[in-house]
């Protein structure tokens, strides 16, 4: 059985371990909720994470299409981009796959060609994750900036239509 076939047969276990690691980047009190609550509407974070990771494992063991990877990474990164993570923490979970794969391959297969290929794919995935992360952050900054613009407050103020509480009366 090829290395890849071995991994495909253990796909679910791999995805499960990966998910466990990602969930453990949250405080333990939260982790159980994220893991346990199955209702996607009551637990969007756990749901997005689980869904993204499952798709990514599939992809990694078959073929890594950049656009599809981006789509799969988007939900989980989008969530992590606004949570209390540093940029490295937000995307670093991708690298967690390396030790998991190594572990499930066992020492014999570790230097195989396929294992090198997988590591390359993970690196590419990490770079895509970083792109997605930056897009999310840019979106946040754009929202911060545009919301101010959307409210015509400033225009009014320039037009002298607004009275600040600190201005004197009758001005």
């Amino acid at each position: 059985m090829s290395v890849m076939a071995q991994l495909v047969s253990r796909k679910e276990a791999i995805a499960g371990k990966w998910l466990a690691r990602v969930i453990d980047t949250y405080p333990p009190e939260t982790a159980r909720f994220l893991r346990g609550q199955q209702d996607p509407f009551a637990n969007p974070v756990g749901q997005a994470t689980r869904h993204s990771l499952n798709t990514l494992v599939d992809m990694l063991l078959a073929e890594l299409d950049e656009a599809a990877a981006r789509t799969a990474l988007d939900p989980v990164i989008r969530v992590r981009a606004i949570q209390a993570f540093t940029p490295a923490q937000a995307v670093g979970f991708v690298f967690d796959l390396k030790p998991i794969l190594r572990e499930s391959l066992g020492p014999a297969a570790q230097n195989s060609e396929e294992s090198a290929l997988l590591e390359d794919r993970i690196d590419r995935l990490a770079l895509i994750a970083f792109d997605v992360y930056m897009q999310c952050r840019e979106k946040i900054y754009e929202l911060k900036a545009n919301e101010m613009k959307n409210t015509t407050y400033k225009a009014f103020a320039r037009a002298g239509l607004i009275k600040d509480p600190d201005q004197g009366a009758g001005q």
Partner: protein, 352 residues
């Protein structure tokens, strides 16, 4: 965090030990003084707490509305979750208190990401709570047989329903007719153990738990455990115990004479119960009384229909229309907005 439940557990053990040793050597203290003291403190403490709550004002009617309001006749109102009448409030409160309705909301159907419906484990919190409270209540009522002579029929009836089977073992070695097994006692112990394990193993619940959450659980566990021990395993002298309990209710116990033959286990049981009574008014166990006073549940959601009066409502500084117009009058006139006083009038007034 472990120190919270370990310390509570330790406290309960120490208590048991003291009663085990102390009970038989100073029966008047553990059999008479302690229970009297406990009841006095319980009644005083609960009354004080409830009166304390009642003394505080209810300035606003803030019911949580959990269903369609009463508006037009052709829109179906949810008369229980958004009650606009006293009857509705009564039903809402009754369901809340008797069936833990809000807690049950947790357990509604959930949809999994495959689009299937499933029930969540949260139903166990509701189940555990219901089992615990009703088992406790039944046990309590059942115990009335110790305080009433003759035992009223209704209590006998409850006992009959509660005890689901009887069997008799008549080996040579152990020969006793096991009395009917009370479901309530077993359920009580099981539920309280479940509630404890839940606190211990669900991370988020462990995170919010305090020593005062564990202590009463251990205490009740101890009460149920000693009760079950006495009833089914180490037989105690029921007649002597009933003599004691009857003397407590009839105040004959004030002679400080305790019947002979009451085993130490009973003193442990009694000490646990007394401690629970003493602890009750100072603890979260007061939720029993507090739930009746919760303004988000016990008020009618007819706040636009009937004016709720705030006893301490006081006048506040407001920005009057007059002050507003004074500030903006010229601009208002210029913009063609009606004003109460034309600029000339107000200028004259200012001169005066």
């Amino acid at each position: 965090m472990n120190k919270f439940y370990l310390s509570s557990l330790l406290a309960v053990f120490v208590l048991a030990l003291i009663a085990w040793v102390g009970g038989p050597s100073a029966p008047w203290l553990f059999g008479i003084v302690l229970p009297y003291l406990a009841v006095i403190l319980f009644v005083y403490g609960v009354a004080r707490r409830v009166m304390g709550w009642s003394r505080s004002a209810v300035p606003f009617a803030i019911p949580t509305t959990g269903g369609q309001q009463r508006s037009m006749p052709w829109i179906k109102q949810n008369k229980i979750d958004n009650p606009s009448t006293h009857l509705g409030v009564f039903i809402r409160m009754a369901l809340e208190i008797l069936t833990f309705r809000s807690l049950f909301r947790n357990t509604r159907m959930k949809m999994t990401h495959e689009g299937r419906f499933s029930y969540n484990l949260e139903i166990f919190l509701w189940l555990g709570a219901i089992a615990f409270h009703y088992a406790f209540l039944t046990t309590l009522v059942r115990h009335m047989r110790f305080f009433l002579e003759p035992v009223p029929l209704c209590i006998q009836a409850i006992e009959a329903v509660d005890s689901f089977f009887r069997f008799e073992i008549s080996y040579d070695a152990i020969q006793f007719g096991l009395p009917g097994v009370y479901i309530s006692g077993i359920v009580l112990l099981a539920a309280v153990v479940y509630l404890f394990l839940r606190r211990l193993f669900i991370a988020k619940v462990r995170y919010i738990s305090l020593a005062q959450d564990y202590f009463p659980l251990f205490l009740i566990m101890g009460i149920a455990f000693t009760g079950i021990l006495m009833r089914y395993f180490t037989k105690v002298d029921i007649a002597a115990i009933k003599e004691l309990t009857m003397s407590l209710v009839t105040f004959k116990a004030l002679s400080f004479k305790v019947p002979q033959g009451i085993g130490p286990l009973f003193y442990v049981h009694l000490a646990f119960v007394s401690t629970l009574l003493i602890y009750f008014p100072f603890s979260k166990l007061m939720h029993m009384g507090g739930v009746f006073l919760s303004p988000t549940r016990n008020l009618a959601a007819n706040t636009r229909e009937v004016r709720h009066v705030n006893p301490w409502n006081y006048p506040v500084k407001v920005h009057t229309y007059e002050a507003y117009e004074n500030e903006f009058r010229d601009k208002m006139v210029e913009a063609g907005l009606p004003v109460d006083k034309m600029p000339e009038e107000s200028a004259e007034e200012e001169k005066e």
